[in-house]
């Protein structure tokens, strides 16, 4: 039996009834192309996770599941959200590489090979498709998303945050390890970064087809805020350290200011007109700073405990030796899929 690298795709589904058939059609084309090529690569399975869809997606998925033996449908008991649905799908995957893509063909299957090529050529474990230009009609949403990611990248000490999105190619072992430790509040991309720092990106043009074809977006403002909150609380946040530093500075300033006030009062008694002002200010400055410092330290301990509960590992072992099988993919003389 010739050894092949297996690729799995995972697609969370919430409102995809209009797009799923076309998406599976495109995946089928990719699968056939790979089958006919000389590459030792196979699209082994496409996993769809029904996240309590109410638009008829379940029926479409059942039909596709019955029609294609490489399509697999997992049905969640209630709406859990995109990241938990992704985690569920990843945990059901068998591929050496696992790609996640959206239900609405915003992420085209023909781009998967380019992501994989980038991963193998540069020895990445995780490659994102970085959107070029605006994804959504109107500038505000994309601007807000980019700005928040830049802030989050600074606040969480993770510059790769700016690349986070749901069109990813992940090494299977890393993806499943990250999924295994993910909890309901874990931001999946943050969990992935606990297991690898070999992250790359490939620029692609992406368009939110839903809004382009006059459907409403898959996300409401509330769920976008929820996403943002989840990203911050899944990470070590620089602001906690900043709070501790501010507290320490305030305490030191309070002590020095307090000493200055004491010396001034002793050197020039009676110059401060209000009785008790000096002692009150010294107390406020010193103890206020001390409380800020202690709170910062306590929050930092809490943050470490929380990250431990979230499943951040002490270490993880990876085997990249099978990437050699895909050397023909990286060979520039073989432009297999033109992406």
């Amino acid at each position: 039996m010739t050894e092949k690298t297996l690729l799995s795709t995972v697609t969370p589904v919430f409102r995809g009834s209009h797009h799923l058939d076309e998406l599976v059609g495109e995946l089928q084309k990719l699968r056939q192309n790979l089958d006919q090529s000389t590459l030792p690569l196979e699209l082994a399975e496409a996993i769809f996770v029904d996240d309590s869809s109410r638009d008829g997606s379940a029926k479409v998925l059942a039909y596709l599941d019955a029609k294609h033996d490489w399509v697999r449908v997992i049905t969640l008991s209630r709406k859990f959200g995109q990241h938990p649905a992704t985690v569920a799908g990843v945990l059901h995957s068998s591929g050496d590489w696992v790609a996640t893509l959206d239900e609405d063909l915003q992420h085209h299957p023909s781009q998967l090979i380019a992501l994989l090529r980038k991963a193998v050529a540069e020895e990445h474990d995780l490659v994102y498709a970085r959107p070029e230009g605006n994804v959504h009609p109107g500038w505000l949403r994309d601007f807000a998303s980019r700005s928040f990611k830049r802030f989050a990248g600074w606040a969480t000490k993770r510059p790769e945050v700016v690349n986070f999105n749901s069109f990813r190619m992940m090494r299977g072992s890393v993806a499943r390890a990250a999924a295994a430790v993910s909890r309901h509040e874990t931001y999946f991309d943050v969990a992935l970064c606990w297991f690898t720092d070999r992250v790359g990106c490939v620029p692609f043009s992406q368009r939110d087809r839903r809004q382009v074809y006059h459907e409403s977006s898959g996300y409401r403002l509330k769920s976008l805020f929820s996403h943002a909150r989840r990203l911050l609380i899944s990470s070590e946040v620089r602001l906690l350290r900043l709070a501790s530093a501010i507290g320490l500075a305030a305490m030191v300033a309070g002590a020095m200011g307090g000493a200055a006030i004491v010396v001034y009062n002793m050197a020039w008694p009676g110059m401060i007109p209000v009785r008790g002002w000096a002692s009150l200010m010294v107390s406020i400055l010193f103890f206020g700073g001390l409380i800020s410092l202690l709170l910062g330290i306590a929050l930092e301990y809490l943050s470490h405990l929380y990250l431990h509960v979230l499943g951040r590992p002490a270490y993880f072992v990876v085997d990249r030796s099978m990437d050699e099988l895909l050397a023909p993919l990286v060979d520039n003389n073989h432009d297999h899929f033109g992406a």
Partner: protein, 310 residues
């Protein structure tokens, strides 16, 4: 009905059949003589005599119309040598010869042989095993299972044939028999011992609970439907699970870290997963996390066997 093997799978099948058919009574229990062919054949001759008394000599009135023989016995494991697997093959062949003889001598009786085989051994190293996948065993144990299946399929007698290819089976912690990864990790976790695992953290397996296997086989036995064509089922949860994930779940359930060493020697480190399309739709499987909790609670409540060594 005769169930050969009362380990993890055989025991689960027996319990499930007794639940499905409460009128069943256990009339005899024997320990299979693996090493001595002569002793084993004497044992089988006594079983043959018992069946003859039931079916022909008026020992049971009216005489039963079905005889079910389940082969769930095994001594060899994935690390077995060819010589060890031959012992097991000869034992199975003796039981099959008994079934063939009975089917010839009891023409009005439907004799069915149920063979518990191993999908993990037959499809070692294959992933997303589907209906079109071919078994390609890599180890002596896999070749043993293939030979057993072929011997059963090639029988020229009117016996009915059922083969069940199981993925990695796990069950409650017991003192005897093969335990498997999950009960071993759980028991060692309770006792604070190190578990030595042949494989890698990212090695993928498909775990199926012994009770679910027992329920499926018992249902086939209790259905009383005569499958005239040989039937072959692949019993798997179709839920790929890495060893790392199993370890993580067990640590969560136990609330403490588990101590594990890995050795990636041999083909045991290979991945094995199954496609949903290859498994029967009527197969009911439980959630891994829930079953791990059940096993852990059972081990705590009933106490670990005193002679348990891992």
């Amino acid at each position: 009905m005769a169930v050969f093997g009362q380990g993890l799978v055989g025991g689960a099948i027996t319990e499930a059949v007794r639940s499905a058919l409460p009128e069943l009574r256990i009339t005899d229990k024997q320990r299979i003589a693996w090493e001595s062919n002569a002793t084993r054949r004497r044992q089988l001759a006594s079983i043959d005599h018992l069946f003859h008394w039931w079916f022909r000599s008026g020992g049971w009135s009216p005489p039963p119309s079905r005889l079910e023989l389940v082969w769930a016995a095994g001594r060899a494991g994935f690390a077995a040598t060819e010589a060890e697997t031959m012992l097991e093959y000869h034992a199975f062949e003796d039981v099959l010869v008994l079934a063939e003889e009975l089917s010839r001598r009891l023409p009005g009786v439907c004799v069915t042989v149920h063979l518990i085989s191993s999908a993990g051994a037959l499809f070692a190293g294959q992933r997303v095993v589907g209906t079109g996948s071919r078994p390609e065993p890599r180890q002596p144990y896999g070749r043993l299972k293939m030979r057993q299946e072929q011997r059963l399929q090639n029988s020229k007698t009117p016996i009915h044939r059922r083969t069940y290819r199981l993925s990695s089976v796990y069950g409650y912690v017991t003192a005897n028999g093969r335990r498997g990864l999950i009960p071993t990790l759980i028991a060692n976790g309770i006792q604070g011992r190190v578990t030595r695992i042949t494989g890698r953290p990212e090695s993928l397996r498909d775990f199926i609970f012994a009770e679910d296997v027992g329920a499926f086989v018992a249902e086939r036995i209790a259905q009383q439907r005569a499958y005239t064509a040989p039937a072959l089922w692949l019993l798997a949860s179709c839920r790929p699970c890495s060893i790392h994930e199993v370890q993580t779940v067990i640590e969560e359930v136990q609330g403490q870290p588990s101590y594990v060493t890995y050795s990636a020697a041999g083909t045991n480190a290979a991945n094995i997963t199954f496609s949903r399309a290859a498994c029967p739709r009527c197969m009911r499987t439980g959630d891994l996390r829930t079953n791990i909790k059940k096993i852990h609670d059972h081990a705590l409540c009933s106490g670990l066997p005193p002679n348990l060594s891992m």
